[in-house]
């Protein structure tokens, strides 16, 4: 398949996905729609995360910070602004914060960056908590202006589709190539003319904008938000996990994983939420060890490779026993 055919295929798949998601509220139960909403949220979050962090290998743990910023923005802004404007504002403010954070932090190597973004996320969370305690006196905010369920669903769906669409487009652009170059060999890319600093900040701001928009949209679902819920680091962790297990560098990986995990989460959540989390952790470990490209890189060859590998392992165990016996 040449490049143009791949593009058409991707766009068609996206269209099909969008259509199916659009139709869902009309025949699905309340429970299914709620599950779909969470799924779409994570499609948006992990696809945008994967686009920047997957290619450049700068693992950002700051998603929760931007999500929370978006949530608080819409909580405050909805009283004065229209729905879409609040979302846009949430995205915008998150992007600005990302530019500031990124300018300070993006010159550091991968692991330092990951740890730092986590530290900054927690810093923001504690700062907001402290600010609320001292200045406003109340913890959290109540959302008074709440749009109906369909609006929320459509917005999050739109964000998810947009995230995948942007992924499709950017991967083919110079920006996407620059991101890949940064991930492969940053200094080399610089000597070939890539302004890595600018590209990194831009990419980081893009993930922040999506996270902020999603946060702004999802805040209204809870009607009452506080730092503990919207700045919950687990949101960022789950985004990262889903993107990594699905295959952060691929287009469809995060989407596939988001669907799989949403289903898994809902089925396990009521009986044993810890089992769900444990399986997340275990799957991540297995995926990093045996499938670094993620679910999306699964091919028939992979399975036969595993089969060979496990047979070899069994054989080596047997020969060890013979040696010791």
């Amino acid at each position: 398949m040449n490049d143009r055919q791949v593009l058409i295929r991707d766009l068609l798949l996206l269209l099909a996905f969008a259509g199916w998601a659009l139709a869902l509220p009309h025949y699905g139960s309340e429970f299914v729609v709620s599950m779909a909403l969470t799924c779409l949220m994570y499609v948006a979050l992990s696809s945008s995360w994967g686009l920047f962090c997957g290619s450049t290998r700068y693992l950002s743990l700051a998603t929760s910070a931007f999500f929370g910023i978006g949530a608080y923005t819409s909580a405050i802004a909805l009283e004065k602004m229209a729905w879409l404007e609040s979302i846009a504002l949430g995205a915008g403010i998150a992007a600005v914060v990302a530019v500031v954070m990124g300018a300070a932090v993006l010159h550091l190597r991968g692991t330092y960056f990951a740890v730092l973004t986590f530290g900054m996320t927690e810093l923001i969370r504690h700062a907001v908590t402290y600010f609320e305690k001292k200045v406003t006196g109340t913890v959290g905010r109540v959302l008074t202006v709440v749009p109906d369920r369909d609006t929320i669903y459509l917005t999050v769906l739109g964000l998810a589709v947009l995230a995948v669409f942007v992924s499709i487009v950017l991967r083919r652009s110079r920006f996407g190539l620059a991101l890949m170059g940064i991930g492969a060999d940053e200094q080399r890319a610089q000597t070939l003319g890539v302004n890595t600093r600018l590209i990194k900040v831009a990419g980081f701001a893009m993930t922040a904008a999506f996270a902020g928009a999603v946060g702004a949209a999802m805040a209204v679902r809870w009607t009452y938000i506080d730092p503990h819920t919207v700045f919950n680091p687990f949101i960022g962790f789950q985004t990262v996990l889903i993107a990594l297990i699905g295959g952060a560098m691929t287009l469809w990986g995060p989407l596939i994983a988001a669907i799989v995990f949403s289903v898994l989460a809902e089925t396990l959540r009521l009986q044993a939420p810890q089992v769900y989390m444990m399986s997340l952790g275990l799957l991540l470990i297995l995926s990093v060890l045996y499938l670094p490209g993620g679910l999306a890189s699964l091919r028939w060859a992979t399975f036969s490779g595993w089969w060979q590998g496990s047979r070899g392992w069994l054989r080596s165990l047997g020969s060890e026993e013979r040696k010791n016996g």
């Binding site: 290998r57 550091l108 991968g110 330092y112 990951a114 504690h126 962790f237 997340l280 990093v288 060890l289």
Partner: protein
């Protein structure tokens, strides 16, 4: 006879030390039975002398309590440092193993009546064995399959991430989310006018002891020299015959063992929950950043320093700012002095 003029005026620092809530019980201030002459000068000078001594002890208590927490921080950080400095594995699940050590000790104590003191070496050994196993199962493969160091570090981080999820939720699953704890050596011990809980003193003492032992081990034994050689130059060390294959799992295990031991010590004095580990991971990260990645004595100094900074910060500002303070210090150091506070 007459007191110096400024003496009766309490200095701003003093006054705050006295009036701040939660400050130790030193009872200076008005004591009705002072029953002295009404000559303000003499009374003031005597009182202020006592006040100064009291204040000194209060400072001592404050700093000492900071050092106690710092001792634990140092112990946990040393383990993390060993893993990162030697193997470039940033084990962000480190705190979870601390939590396991705490639960293990609690179970031993509550269910079988074993003394926590006995559990100190036991928890070390159990967690060390677990560490060796984990290294062999998870990280060994990464070493073989990662094309370069950056990718290895990133993958190691992700595996540790997964471990964090796995272990924390396993504990939650096994033991439930209720707070647990037990009492052990809670009678207070007095040093001068300052009081400390007996168990916290024990924790501090043991933490310092084991930290010192590790540092001594690394500095003076052949094994330790091998480890330090590996840290400085992996290829060079292998060329002179140091066995990386056996050393890495062992050192990873020791790091985890230290964490478990810290958990055992902590369980004597603090409550136990499945999520207790995470803050310690973060703190350990902050400590090794302060002390410089890979530096053992830096981790020790950094841990104690952070404990004191936190104690002072909590006291003079606001306890809820503790987290804010720690993270700010962390970010500031990473950005301004990424090689650690003590780097040349």
């Amino acid at each position: 006879m007459a007191a110096e003029s400024g003496d009766g005026q309490a200095q701003p620092g003093q006054a705050r030390l006295e009036i701040k809530k939660g400050f130790p019980r030193s009872a200076f201030g008005s004591s009705p039975s002072r029953g002295r002459h009404q000559r303000p000068g003499k009374a003031v000078s005597a009182v202020s002398l006592v006040q100064t001594l009291m204040t000194l002890f209060s400072w001592f208590e404050l700093i000492a309590s900071g050092l106690i927490t710092g001792g634990i921080y140092a112990l946990v950080a040393l383990g993390l440092n060993l893993q990162y400095g030697l193997m470039r594995i940033l084990n962000i699940a480190h705190g979870e193993f601390l939590m396991l050590g705490a639960y293990l000790t609690w179970m031993a104590h509550a269910v079988w009546g074993i003394s926590p003191l006995l559990m100190v070496p036991v928890s070390f050994l159990v967690l060390m064995a677990l560490g060796v196993l984990i290294h062999k199962l998870c990280f060994r493969r990464l070493t073989a399959t990662s094309p370069n160091l950056d990718i290895f570090e990133a993958r190691g981080l992700m595996v540790a991430f997964g471990l964090m999820f796995l272990v924390q939720n396993f504990a939650s699953f096994m033991w439930g989310g209720d707070l647990r704890g037990y009492d052990y050596l809670t009678e207070p011990v007095k040093i001068g006018e300052a009081q400390f809980a007996g168990n916290k003193l024990l924790v501090f003492g043991l933490a310092l002891l084991f930290s010192g032992a590790l540092i001594a081990l690394l500095r003076f034994t052949l094994l330790g020299k091998g480890v330090r050689a590996l840290m400085q130059s992996p290829t060079g060390a292998q060329l002179v015959g140091i066995d990386t294959q056996r050393l890495h799992p062992l050192m990873f295990g020791i790091g985890l063992g230290l964490s478990g031991m810290a958990g055992c010590l902590l369980s004597m004095a603090y409550t136990i929950t499945p999520s207790m580990g995470e803050p310690y991971t973060v703190t350990a990260l902050i400590v090794i950043t302060l002390g410089g990645f890979g530096s053992m004595s830096g981790a020790l100094a950094g841990g104690l320093l952070l404990g004191v900074i936190e104690a002072l910060g909590m006291h003079f500002t606001n306890p809820s700012l503790k987290a804010l303070l720690s993270y700010s210090v962390f970010i500031a150091v990473l950005l301004l002095r990424p090689r650690g506070l003590f780097a040349k």
